[in-house]
Symmetry: C3
Subunit: 345 residues, 3 copies
């Protein structure tokens, strides 16, 4: 993999060639790409933040840390092998969908099965193809791909899984009607605190508050403004859920917050510049995504699917496509380069 | 709101400034925009037709009249606040999706609940964002937005509603499998007459025949040709439903006709010129939308959603996109300006 | 229909005029277009292959042969009447979706009912409109229409059918949750052989192995390379299904293979040139479509819909859109003209 170096690399594509020093540099470059790939789940092209996210996943369980890391690596390597645009690979944009795909399989199909591991490797290859298709198709409308590739693949595989006896080890499939909410809506401070942290950890399907705390630390490493926007998004999600009468258990497990975090980050600082107007817009988006959550869940429930980050993806597409029509928002500087999933023309 | 006047307005954006005369003019301009917004549900940029529609909604129930009027006003005001293209606002194109969104919430969540009213205001703000996104995205293909923004938002909120205890006051959610049609298909003259009028009123979710008669009056105010096309569309829908064996009860309550009315109007006189060839094409479209009706209903039933005007929207998109490939239809004059939802480049 | 001849035709559009010789030429031209329309189901603009396919359908049952032939004729004639691009009509691209639509109605609504026959004629007219819309809309992204028009129309009508008492003659509708796979996964040689041939016949909804053998003969008539790619795709589908634990009964009835056949053909030789790299890519696509199969089935099951060739259509769209981003694949000659559904600019 010696072709990664700036330009003076002597190795051939896809082969570890040249003296040991060159190989070491190549390996370190690849490692940085993989870590950036993990950080890009929250739009950060930062290896440092990715390292903290990696620690958070290992804190949730060594198998999840491994699935996340290996998935990102497989996705990134596939993109390099297929000759995807070098900028996308080096900023980690070819890793984050693979990271989430592998984790999704681990959580919903069982991390301990060999079938899951093999399927995750195949899934991380295919999600790279899906990513290229989505980038190109949405590029026509000037939209980024976000986590749509993972949402597509994750939904397809989790819905298909009960149809394959070597893949599905859970007995009957999960297909059912969504039921009306039950349970208390009274929110205790402990629920609230837990829900705030799990709002971060659920981005990676994890229900532990300390995993969320570590992820928030990763966002802080990337910059205090980013962390602040994420916290405001999370709080908007929780507040919206509480006001509309979401069950307290759902708020406590992070269901009402994780999409709101991602929408707020995307619309304030990544794809639109961070300003007062865009922050307001982003928080309206965060509230919208919170309402979209149970709708997507109810829509996929009869086929056995899950909401994943569909609410974030759909809301962000709508609010980004609309933003160009609102001079109030458009009248502002360009977003920072290298942040988030940019469109290759 | 003094910025509405042609150009010499002295007031600041979003503030009622200047002498009382200017304020009065601004208020009357806004009122005209709101009434045109109501009329644009059937593609009419006519304040007079909008006033008749408004009477029709109040005839169905004062709360529905109020929801419709307030919704249109909130949508129109939001579009102005966000700086949307002035032509779209003044022809009422920023009002009709908000009108239907507010009515939809009133009918499906209960008009009498404070939660519904608050949610309707929020929905009319968000539907303006959705409208901007849809206009821009479909503009790539040269298609108008139609009522897609309302269909999206109405479907999301009605499907999500049972997940929120402060929003849903009807016990268990409506998710269920669609069942095969039962009941008599024998159509009595009284059913037929009722179905003809409710075919108009169901556009606004209303089941009363006299509401439909008032709406037809509004179409007549806009022009006899428009009313004639609407009646032919309605008759095609009813005839298609009857021929295929739709239950008489469904024909009588307007379910088989309302999408056909809208398709006929859209394809003959609004987005395609009114000619013999386009009328035939429009009536084939009206029949197609009638078949699409139970399909959409069955598709959304397991998640608790409703057909709304999805059949009209989907059919019209297909028939409009296809029209460019058929010289038989294309060989004709341009449609009238200001009618229907034109695409901002 | 004398306008088909190169340019010196004396007849008027849509009328059989001129001396008997001209009429005979026109009839033979039309017949060739219809046969090519049948062959285009597998991307072949070959009247000879279409004739063999026609024999295969009659072997499955005279009513299926008739529905397929009449459907293709109605679709082709409608396209000519509406003035669709002449190249599309003459290469059979306006026939194959109509062929599948008519067969789909025959299989799912009952070939013996008059209602089915009438509906099939109407469906073949409407699918021509849908085709024009799909060609134009997907053309924006440079994608072909494939069998998407038939999938859309077939899904709509089969889902809507139980709502119409004169259309649906099977008692209660088929809406149900998808169940987890049961039954043996042990694959006997007889199952394997049967599954290999039915993988071809299921493209046309037919479960007989000898129909599949005849269809394979048709592919051989078109060229040995085409047949080889189809066989490899089929084998990949069966192998993927077997590895993942699809029930043996499903492999034997062709469910795991038919989408894989179409994906392999589309990605290796039709829309991408036939080379080692694209063959690998095509077989990854074939495996992906095999996983997508149960996902689509589970997704449509609660509304009473079927998978049809949705897995092929969706997989091929993704892999074709992505291909442009992979220099490994792009670096190769242009695909053969006239093969498959090309995009009219």
């Amino acid at each position: 993999m010696g072709t990664l170096g700036g330009g003076g690399s002597a190795g051939g594509r896809g082969r570890a060639a040249g003296p040991p020093g060159v190989r070491l540099v190549a390996a370190r470059l690849f490692a940085a790409q993989v870590l950036r790939g993990q950080a890009q789940v929250t739009f950060l092209p930062s290896a440092a933040a990715g390292a903290v996210f990696c620690v958070a996943l290992f804190a949730a369980g060594w198998e999840y840390g491994l699935y996340g890391l290996a998935g990102t690596a497989v996705g990134t390597a596939t993109a390099r092998l297929l000759g995807v645009d070098r900028d996308r690979v080096s900023t980690g944009l070819e890793g984050f969908n693979a990271c989430l795909t592998a984790l999704c399989f681990a959580v919903f199909l069982g991390a301990e099965h060999v079938s899951t591991a093999l399927l995750a490797v195949a899934g991380c290859v295919v999600v790279t193809v899906v990513t290229a298709a989505v980038v190109r198709t949405l590029g026509v409308c000037g939209l980024p791909s976000l986590t749509l590739p993972y949402c597509l693949l994750g939904t397809v595989v989790t819905v298909a899984a009960p149809g394959f006896r070597h893949v599905w080890h859970h007995g009957e499939g999960p297909a059912a009607f969504a039921r009306a909410a039950t349970g208390s809506t009274a929110l205790h401070p402990a629920d609230l605190a837990r829900g705030f942290f799990t709002g971060f950890s659920q981005i990676f399907f994890m229900p532990q508050w300390y995993v969320g705390a570590l992820l928030l630390l990763g966002l802080l490493v990337a910059g205090p403004r980013t962390a602040a926007v994420a916290c405001l998004g999370n709080a908007t999600g929780v507040a919206t859920g509480w006001a509309l009468g979401a069950p307290a258990a759902q708020i406590a497990d992070g269901t009402t917050g994780y999409n709101a975090v991602l929408v707020a980050l995307a619309l304030c600082g990544v794809f639109l510049p961070a300003r007062a107007a865009t922050l307001t817009y982003a928080l309206v988006g965060a509230a919208t995504a919170t309402v979209l959550g149970p709708a997507v869940a109810a829509f996929f429930a009869p086929s056995g699917g899950h909401a994943f980050t569909w609410p974030f993806v759909l809301t962000t597409f709508v609010f980004l496509a609309a933003a160009k029509s609102f001079p109030v928002l458009a009248r502002s500087g360009v977003p920072r380069p290298g942040r988030g999933d940019t469109v290759t023309p």
